[in-house]
Amino acid sequence: MNNLHLIIARKKITNTLRSYGVLLALILVIIVTGIIEKNFFTLDNFLNVLRQNAVIGIVACGMTFVIISGAFDLSVGAVVSLSGVIAITTINNGGGEIMAIIFALMVGLVVGVTNGVLISSINGRMGEAFIITYGTLTVAASLAMYASGGLFLAGKIKDGFYKSIGQGMIPIVIFLSIAAVMQFVLVKTKFGREMCFIGGNIKAAKMSGIRVVRNRIMYFALSGVLAAVAGIVLTSRVISSNPAAGVGFEMDAIAAVVVGGTSMAGGKGSIANTILGTIVIGILSNALNILGITSYPQMMVKGTIIIIAVALDVWNKRVKERELANEKVYV
């Protein structure tokens, strides 16, 4: 009997280690860097990390929904650039700050709905989503270049509502409240359940009466709108827009989602994981910066971290499957 208790206890520990592997890795990084460099271990620095990564985090939340539903969205980076350019252009042409925000969100909505309609109308999965969102990425990026003439645009306002969006705690609040709402929707509502169903088995979802096309359009629309929100936050911090500001954001967002532990296969995942993934990548870059490692080796470290995180996840899943097959030994 005693022996059995021991086995169960050991199993619990290994299970915890496996489920929270990324979190433990994060804590390890924090402790090691904190010991080496005193400046790292301050509240200011952590808030700074969150503020810097709120933009990627917002994009990654939208991406999580799209990935759970079994697709992905490459166009978000270009939407971040385009919505920022549109917002600053509107302000500079005397459109007012509220109109700037509305126009920017409209841009995100239009691109997102376009993605959703195109992909769901041909019943597209990963492959079609890849090509079509790559197409909309190209279109949105070129529109951002065209609208700004390829230049940095400085906003012609000093202090005001728009500028306050990007200052202090507000980006963090925006990011975390969006994440909280989305986590609630994912876990507690029919809409969220349907998303997992569609991602898990799209044919079965359709046959059981879920309005697959409508729902999928909504996921892409949400992803586009959140990318636009990210564009607004990004431009409001510095009150200027860069037509190439969002280049590569799609990959960063996907990395945050995946490092958090949401599987690319679709059907399951969580926003909480995405927040974790965002923070892990953010803290890691911050730690590398503080340790004085330049940006090129940082790319290598980041890539390695993505691979290790996912490899651990895959290994974890395989062990779990094997244990499920042998479950009766313990029960």
Partner: protein, 317 residues
């Protein structure tokens, strides 16, 4: 009467299967009427020389897609290979540099293949990670600055041509023929299709699926390094910024050609059509004087339209 209906369906099927080719032909005819220069030998040679650099990688990407995988890191392998080839040429001369470049391409392929086939990571994530690593390495190695070479042999090979056709299309034709032969005429090719079509059934049928999932990445790595070498032969320089769009371009060419991303069907011959669509379009837009942002815009719209058109036709059937 019955025979007639049968024939009309056959014709319809024939046309539908070649819808992209027909669109391409119509486009070429229209372009020839608008711009007679489009049909000149110089321009045709130009299109060929431009197209075949990326074409080699696109063919290898098609093989990977047939096997049900794809590789985002191809663009980084390309960038790294241009850098490595140039710097090794400056150090050790042309032939050793070429060999080292190809071996490094194979090495990255082995890494990707190992991650996907043995560790069983999804190809998207694995190659996203290696893409970042290799790109970081290329930037680190050059410190972000382009490097060039003044190796005379390399320049001689670069300026060698037969009636304008440089060494690149010749290399492309060799690689392409090898792929066609392997895919259509060998056991290896058949098993590749089987692995991509249904992984589990292929495994149960006794095919070494892990090996096929592995080897396609090695082929891709080698082909990306080969593309990069031919690119360097043309422009005598290497930079971590080169080839940024290679991976997406190759996937796009493959899909436009008609190879499905779900794996198990298609072929490299189809990819040539995809490559032609992309490069003829690019060339035509340049000849028409449409530049920069608008060209990018039109390319994006065409990419989406082709996929939508193709998907809607295939769904109707």
């Amino acid at each position: 009467m019955k025979k007639f209906t049968y024939n009309s369906t056959a014709i319809k099927n024939f046309l539908f299967e070649r819808s992209i080719v027909i669109m391409l032909f119509i486009f070429i005819i229209v372009m020839t009427i608008i711009k007679p220069a489009f049909y000149g030998w110089d321009n045709i040679v130009n299109i060929l020389n431009e197209m075949t650099v990326y074409g080699i990688t696109a063919c290898a990407m098609t093989v990977a897609i047939i096997c049900g995988e794809f590789d985002l890191s191809a663009s980084s392998v390309f960038a790294w290979s241009t850098v490595l080839f140039v710097s090794m040429t400056n150090k050790f001369g042309l032939v050793p540099a070429f060999l080292i470049t190809i071996i490094s391409g194979a090495f990255w392929g082995i890494l990707n293949g190992w991650l996907v086939s043995k560790v069983r990571m999804s190809a998207f994530v694995a190659t996203l990670g290696t893409m970042t690593i290799i790109k970081g390495l290329a930037f680190f190695y050059t410190d972000g600055v382009p490097i060039n070479t003044s190796n005379t042999t390399l320049q001689a090979i670069g300026s060698f041509n037969i009636a304008g056709i440089s060494i690149t299309p010749i290399a492309f034709i060799l690689v392409f023929s090898a792929f066609v032969f392997v895919l259509l005429k060998t056991k290896f090719g058949r098993k590749l299709y089987a692995t991509g079509g249904n992984y589990e059934v292929a495994r149960l049928a006794g095919i070494n699926v892990t090996f096929y999932k592995f080897i396609i990445f090695v082929i891709l790595g080698i082909c990306a390094a080969l593309s990069a070498s031919l690119f360097v032969v043309r422009i005598h320089a290497g930079s971590a910024l080169y080839g940024g769009d290679l991976a997406l371009y190759s996937v796009a060419a493959t899909v436009i050609g008609g190879t499905s991303l779900s794996g198990g069907n298609g072929g490299v011959t189809k990819t040539i059509v995809g490559l032609l669509v992309l490069s003829v379009l690019f060339n035509a837009l340049t000849l028409l004087g449409i530049q920069g942002y608008f060209q990018q815009l039109i390319r994006g719209i065409v990419l989406i339209s082709v996929i939508m058109f193709d998907a809607s036709i295939n769904r109707k059937r």
